[in-house]
Symmetry: D3
Subunit: 240 residues, 6 copies
């Protein structure tokens, strides 16, 4: 259909960025959050950023307390999601009219938000789904050109870099290689390890160009611009 | 109409209890929250408790950050409400099936929740309304027999007890006397000082028996049972 | 952040206008409402109007009946809000595509409506909150440049102008002076007197330029254009 | 399936009653509404009443004004629905805890409300649907045993009783005979004449025992008890 | 009011198109749906299409099963509506960013969707209302310039063209003539025959130019362009 | 807290049952669905069933068409969920007043539905989540005593029973063993293979007794009664 091409020229490309909840923790300063907002504003000149914020330390406070009080696990997920949305509100406050307000709460609201052409800031969506998996789904449904996952490490290693000084950073890796590593390294994984397999499966089924980088303003800007930083996840077998 | 009297015998009396957000702060322990849950369970044998939780320290964390990032004040209120609802979820987790789940978000949902006969736990409702005022409105709309406001002081004084060692605690006070004190003491008031006048106006227009007590499990239980503790707010001129 | 300034040039200024419910009473004619719509359309060439409609006579009809039937007061507030929204629908009908449709029901929906750049018409929002207080909150959350309160008197007097022929109209008054007057004149106040203190507190905390004028098309247009009409409420001590 | 029969013994029969909006008009008194509430309370000892309130005079005020202001017809329907819901709130206020609160707004909410075993009070539901048709749909979906339509005339006549002194009241009539009369008498019909054909079609497809009576407390009580009053609408050809 | 004319020049005309559910049946191919999408995209250069999709064969599968299982008729309507919305999703998928997403579910959501200037795709809205009647209501509320009803016959005949080889196709017919035919031909009508009288009444009250054509891409395009095809329904007595 | 034990005696145990969508396919008969309803009614004498229905053949029809039309995968998930909810409506129709109506759409609505003590029928909940994973989450959040997964095979084998005549059925298996098998057998897996790892992870974190059985009325009844049928999934290492 002819209009397919016109789409690409008519609207900005979209980039999905997953931000770690650690940015918004109890010790977070106004200045550090403002810098993230400025970076998002800068890149919004060339692409439309869709940002998913994590829950971080305050989410863990509520989750730990509620688990000890006898909450079921699904309810804990909801509490983590609510905190991630509070974090999203902080970024929206910093971006003012540049950001879509309010925080979208499901894929339908996200598609309305994305249509506004504003910067879209989202927290988690559903219990039982990691923010990684949620981010990949949002990249899929908004037809994003790329997915930048800003984490606490500078990419994907073949073994735990903290435990193994010889651990090697991948510059490029396939989805299947990622899954293999997750299987072996499962013991060191966080709560949502396997959910990340969901994220990988979504990346694969929709062939979303993905990059894992250390959470840092310059890194994210570089990754959005396609620079070779962190680890690139590819869905087709890379050339060795 | 005849059924008016039958109501009173058919269902338990309802008591609205406002709990300070300080119970749920970063330092909160599982045990302290569990004790509040046990107290609520105990009194639910004779009355139906409807509890409004405050936001506390974590609310202040988000509000301060967002204000510094340029958020409008109404949005700050929303953030405080979201945190108070997370606190409500902690109590619901501790109460299990005894509590109504999920957290009601407006007066309509509260009236559905109250009809379930379970213990109802609510956070804040609307921006621009203190949890005190919200609690009084909920007492009004649920036709509660009494409203217990558990705060950080042990009642209402004629002047600031921290600044004035001669400050006198009222055992009983009229709504109008409260308003007079609020006018004089306005300089020392917190953020929502005048919102508390709303609470007082609601108490007056619906003649809700109200008691202000120091937040403590025994005090709340005593106040629910009608014991003479803290400060009683009356709507008709007391006998001197 | 650089984008702050660009906002101001990129979008029209916003003006919040509170309209008395008396405009929409049983005796209201099509022509009188149409004139208000035309005025709003005119000023929408230079600013984005956000209008809050009151409930008026029909609201009082329902409130009186329901109170006599035993309704709680919070429910009465809801009924007043529903009537104010019917009034909002009348203005929306008169404005056609110039107005945002449907009537927004909370601050989140208002922020979506305001982003449409259309004329936004809202009724009341929450029980326990006067339309004055609601209007001030909306001015705050939409970052309006000014708030025009169109009432049944031509401004704020130092005493009741109906009772006292020497009553003096303020051309300018501070928030604190307003509060002092409200205290003294409280006996003559309507149902929501103290709620108006909430409005004043919101005006103060967000420093919203506010003007109280007699409800009349020319007056409102003049006030929107910043002409010296009615009473101006200032948040900084005026120069005497 | 065996449980089908047990249903009928386990729960009260349900009766759908359509009340004319004229009961709630500007001239309505507290006492007249209270009497309807008392009647509903009385019959709730033996059946579960589900009541649909009309809009009446105030609905017409808004509809006329909005139509003159250029509103589309569907929006006029919405305004009529909103007024009918305000009328529903008056009855709910008069019934207190006997009534389900809040007013259900669609068939899903009605089915939750009906499950509460309380008296359910509903206004209109959808634009483009008369309250008669809505009432028939609600009777259908709630599996009501009968539908009592309390109107401004004492039953169905073979011609206009105001114009024709020989007009004959039917004691019993089939759905098809009703449709024939509606065709001939269409010139004198109100706004929703043909929507009443929808009501008739629903009555027919679900074989709902229906009676049209003059709106009066005794008449409604009699009709609910199955007494021979007003006009009975039957779906099978009556014996002549 | 002056802005009325400016509206007409400022925005595209809107055309409401009712599509038969048969397009989306079990045997439907990707290619046939894609052609409808391409046609909608083409005409969206000159008008804004608002499309209502029917339920078709899969709706009938669910309705028949549920009726046999004892479902009430109103619930069957809801199931038909849900299937029609699935069909709407197929068209939205085929149109990509050209279509408003998600599927609007009531008149309020439709008015938000229409304001986006995108192609709007809707299924059914309310139980008890045919998609024909719903389409007419949407044409009314969106102030559409015309309503094209794409059906399984090539227009309106004076008798059943399948049974009567002399059946004559109307090129133009009045609403009242349609109603007369529906009365006579009622025995052959489908489930919603009388609902179509609702559609006709809405067409009449809002004088919506309407055309009934055989469902086919060229026919629809011709009808949108105002070519003389199928049967034109007029609200004023045609000249004979 | 003392009330923990009282819960267990006060309310029926809850059992979560996942039903394959194949039960509701195009060829489904009224009788086969009615038998499932009767079985659910029977077991509801001793436990509260919470049933999750799959999408089946009609879901695949829509998903295949939409994928070919260019839909993103997340939207395909939504279409599958909508079909699974239509299937849920069929069971609700067959169960009449024994079932909770309407179909709950998220965990909050499920917790309200479960509190009604009725049989609860749910379809899918969220895109990106298999109905298996959703079922496990619902078992977790409703504190179900067991989870019966009725599938198209009679349990879990050590290899594909269709391809390998020596394939061995496990009578009991640990979660970790399941995961190992899923890894090896991944090539033959359906669309949601890895999502089932989510289901397994949820089963493990909340120690939900789970049984996989061939979808058949007697098998499900047996599994609910704890009989040794199909494959039992255990979270603690079984004794060999």
């Amino acid at each position: 259909m002819e209009y397919d091409n016109r789409h690409n020229t008519r609207r900005k490309k979209r980039v999905v960025i997953k931000l770690s909840g650690s940015i918004f923790s109890q010790g977070a300063s106004r200045d550090s959050i403002k810098k993230y907002a400025e970076m998002l504003f800068d890149i919004s000149n060339s692409v439309q950023p869709i940002v998913i914020t994590g829950g971080g330390e305050i989410a863990r406070h509520y989750i730990n307390l509620a688990r000890n009080l006898g909450s079921d696990e699904a309810n804990l997920d909801v509490m983590g999601i609510e905190v991630s949305r509070l974090n999203a509100r902080l970024l929206i406050a910093a971006l003012g009219d540049e950001a879509y307000s309010p925080v979208p709460k499901n894929l339908e609201e996200i598609s309305i938000a994305v249509a506004s052409s504003k910067i879209v800031i989202v927290g988690g969506l559903h219990p039982g789904q990691s923010t990684n998996a949620t981010s990949a789904l949002i990249a899929e449904t908004s037809k994003a050109s790329s997915f930048v996952n800003a984490t606490d490490v500078d990419g994907i290693y073949d073994s735990d870099p903290n435990a193994n000084s010889n651990a090697r950073l991948f510059r490029e890796i396939t989805v299947n290689e990622c899954i293999e590593i997750l299987k072996v390294e499962s013991t060191m994984a966080g709560r949502y390890d396997l959910m990340d397999i969901i994220a990988l499966k979504v990346i694969e089924r929709s062939k979303i160009p993905t990059r894992v980088v250390l959470s840092d303003i310059d890194n994210i800007r570089d990754a959005v611009e396609g620079k070779d930083i962190g680890t690139k996840i590819v869905t087709i077998k890379k050339q060795s």
